[in-house]
Point group: C2
Chain length 326, copies 2
Amino acid sequence: MRKISAIISLFALLGTMPALAQEPENPEYPSPNAIVDAAPASDWVKIAPSDLLVMDLAPDAAGNLRRVVIQLMPEPFSQAWIRNIRKLAAAHWWDGTSINRVQDNYVVQWGDAGYDNPESGETEQKPLPKGLETVPGSDYQTNKFTPSIKKHVLDLRDAAYPDAFDNYSSGTGFGAGWPYATDQTSVWPIHCYGAVGVGRNYSPDTGSGAELYTVIGHAPRHLDRNIAVVGRIIEGIEHLSSLPRGKGQLGFYEDARKRVPITSIRLGNALAEEASLAFEYLDTEGEAFAKYADARANRRDPFFIVPAGGADICNIPVPVRRVKGE
Amino acid sequence: MRKISAIISLFALLGTMPALAQEPENPEYPSPNAIVDAAPASDWVKIAPSDLLVMDLAPDAAGNLRRVVIQLMPEPFSQAWIRNIRKLAAAHWWDGTSINRVQDNYVVQWGDAGYDNPESGETEQKPLPKGLETVPGSDYQTNKFTPSIKKHVLDLRDAAYPDAFDNYSSGTGFGAGWPYATDQTSVWPIHCYGAVGVGRNYSPDTGSGAELYTVIGHAPRHLDRNIAVVGRIIEGIEHLSSLPRGKGQLGFYEDARKRVPITSIRLGNALAEEASLAFEYLDTEGEAFAKYADARANRRDPFFIVPAGGADICNIPVPVRRVKGE
């Protein structure tokens, strides 16, 4: 019987996010993970707990807790919806709602599934808190350029980033920790894997923020500028992406018992464990990130034989890490 | 209490694969799904059962059958590995092996997990059938251009396809039902969602075809030309993509009991139900596909307000349908 080292056999497919002690490194061309691991503390930026939206699902069949942590987008993007989301969380509006839709290679969606009233024969929705804003579709993009956006997204052609080519815009880049696209007149956030957006009806101003979704497949970039992106999942996406796919149209659960109950959604600073919610992202304007992005586009670590010479912006996920809280 | 039509509320996120009776259509700009539904029978190409690899997993906890159907790639791509795969299936080699790795936004991998022999202290692998070929890494791409590849991939710049821009090649296109990329000298298959590839160790010629994986996240195009793509999943990917993520390094299951047993893997023509395995793909050289690709790149159906003007090739999945067998 042939014997093969189990270690080598198991690591047959590299090119992944977590750094591996067993992964051989070429000192001249470190892997993207090794570059991130070696980034100095000064290259990491703290995420304020008030910019986190923490979703707790009912425990799974084995009794395991399921927590999903979302980072909300910074200004000047999608802030009116984010104000609504802060109000919805403060009102505990999502508590008792559910995950209602899981569509393979597309999205997981949550919010109020509605209640079919047998007396009236109509579906009733949970009333929304007072004071939510109605946000126009024009807010899906902005022409307010922060200095960071101007330098790293709008003026990208001068920067010779490997990800400058894009089928969905005239260029993409990173500003203050997030991926954006531009048409040179305006700028907008991108639907990459894990992006969180605001579900809506046909009219562009119908999304309040109460109905949210996240991307669990290939980046559906055709949604950019057509729906509001309000954040990204930075921990626990596996509790959503591994849910059974819905068998109804668009992946909705036909059987209401398949819906996953949401115990609560709170802002990070509204939780008793606020101090332990300590996350940082790698500064997208720092030297380590530039090296990381280049290594993602040109894999020269030992497994690879042909570096691609470029990368789709959604294949350069901004590294986020959990650190020891106070 | 506010009342909202449940139908409208549920269909808050369109842009999906299955056509919907409820989806309003703009007759001038039909949705991609409507175009596919309206394609004439002559635009659909039958897939031979001998080009299908059918994987049956052990039933799930509720006793549901789990079948995954893979279409193998046509010539001139990856044929040496595919010959090995045909031999492995004929030898029933995979029966009793398992799904061993599920890494979020990356891959699901299956094959022989190895057996830790407590007497020798070594990990033993299941012996491979005799007569498998050792395939060089140079076979990850080819310079044998079929007329279809020449016209639709190599000469793409003249064709003004919306997906001509690519960060990973000098151009992409579709040839005889599959997406490819080129550097003008050679051509290779693309790692889109659902692509099936051959796991290997560090040396490029170490993948036999016994260890396979599929993509369950954003297209990891940096693997193109670095690993062999041998097929794509055309039915049942949800049985893989919704599995619990592995908690070990690279998403391997640390607890061997989490591995999902593979009951059998067979070629479609080796199964008693061969006649019912009737699948067709939309001819990528036909008029319906051209309209579909254009609509994927320029969404003008009622939900959309800004058509993107282009599309990543992995956002133009080739439509495949199951038809009534003989």
